[in-house]
Subunit: 277 residues, 2 copies
């Protein structure tokens, strides 16, 4: 491909197991309106949470390989499970900045927390990886972390049930274990969870600061782009969306959440063992 | 100097025109408790606000030169006036990451703002430089910025009057012009101003999000260190403080604000035209 425009005008590749990463894409659009996004949702193979680390890493490599056919200046792994399984491996193999969603969330929780009692909710894969505990304690040794896997949440969101009474009940029941511990901060350790923000905030109460990786990851992307002189100067942008699933149902959820029309294309991924980017 | 420990264990150099940058140092200590700080306050020549850009840049070079005698892994210009006047020049001349306080504050304001109506208060130097306007609109073209110089605030803080009735009255009077505009976010564009947080927040009301560069700059430092694999793994740290002014009065203000004993040394700076780091 022959490029005649500078790297600062390249796009941001954002990938997720499905529609959850749209919470991150939405924040990038809001906070960095000059940036162009190539979004990939692996809806057909969603959820990633119950899969093995090896499988999630392979899926992530396949998506990154697909996205690297476009001129990208950064890749954002907008899925906690994939971040835990593959961030470091992708970083090592790709020549552009690669961001995950775990470290920005950890940093924001450290900023918000005053008693250093931080809760984390996520998929089984994310919670089992202890990625948040490691990220938090790497930076701040005195933090106590309470982790809870919430396997029911992603299917609730992906199936479009988030506005229902069922969603409220499932959230309240799932978060019961937190009643016994005094948290001051809760990390939504899955990019799908901001879509359940209201019921989660209601159960946790006003005293608990709720951290959405989405907002913080967009700030971190802004930071990295600026420090590398890669901020776009564009006045208008046109985003692209790809899914391995059904384009119409992806578009419906995406338009509901982003509040704007989206172009979605269904694509097939090529299995790869290694990144070639 | 012969170093036998890795660069990740080097210190962070933080500089300010006086004690204002201690708000940033305090947040770095809280959010990054493994990091060691070498703090420099140019109290004798404070305030920088009314000085020319050229003079502020020269003073900043002198301080950076002094700090570079120590093994540093990053420099943080914890003064908005010095950031506006010298950040880019220092960045170009120094081989380690250099952070200012303007971009982190701008980014946090963009995250917090929902109506894109952002106010900025700062010294004459900072406001005249339009550094915040440029930083905000570089990232987000649709933001309206309302700027106000508050020359009385720094002397209030440096002279130790911040807990008094006088401080409240000066703040209320100074911020009157903002009554005519509907802000949704206010940036404290001077590192001294978090020391006047209460009276400022009282005047602005609960609807306005107040952004302290200090908190956000510590997050940005954490981001940059992590992406460069420079986070410290230390369990204990010992910070150092230098001032061009009187060590005892600097120590008194620093201990009041940091809530811990500090070692302060009075030093003389060597005039330089160019950075030699």
């Amino acid at each position: 491909m022959h490029m005649t425009y500078p790297a600062s005008e390249y796009a941001i590749g954002i990938l997720d197991s499905g529609v959850g990463g749209l919470t991150v894409a939405k924040e990038v659009m809001r906070q960095l309106p000059r940036e162009t996004i190539y979004y990939f949702g692996d809806t057909k193979r969603c959820p990633y949470g119950p899969r093995s680390e090896k499988e999630v890493r392979q899926f992530t490599f396949e998506i990154v390989n697909f996205l690297l056919q476009f001129p990208l200046k950064a890749i954002l792994i907008a899925c906690n499970t994939a971040t835990a399984a593959a961030l470091n491996a992708v970083k090592e193999r790709v020549g552009i900045p690669v961001l995950g969603v775990i470290e920005p969330g950890a940093r924001a929780a450290i900023k918000a927390s005053r008693q250093n009692r931080i809760g984390v909710i996520g998929t089984q894969g994310t919670i089992q990886s202890k990625a948040y505990e490691k990220a938090l304690q790497r930076i701040h040794p005195d933090i106590t972390v309470y982790s809870l896997a919430c396997p029911a949440f992603v299917p609730l969101v992906e199936s479009g049930y988030r506005h229902t009474r069922v969603a409220e009940e499932v959230v309240a029941e799932t978060l019961k274990p937190f009643q016994a511990v005094q948290l001051d901060t809760l990390i939504l350790g899955c990019t799908h969870y901001p879509l359940l923000y209201e019921p989660i905030a209601k159960v946790m109460g006003k005293e608990v600061a709720i951290i959405s990786s989405a907002e913080e990851t967009a700030v971190e992307l802004s930071t990295i782009l600026q420090h590398k002189n890669l901020l776009s100067g564009k006045e208008k942008t046109a985003h692209c969306f790809f899914t391995t699933g059904e384009a119409d149902s992806f578009a419906r959820i995406a338009e509901d959440w982003l509040g704007r029309p989206v172009r979605v294309e269904t694509v097939e991924l090529t299995p790869v063992e290694k990144l070639t980017g």
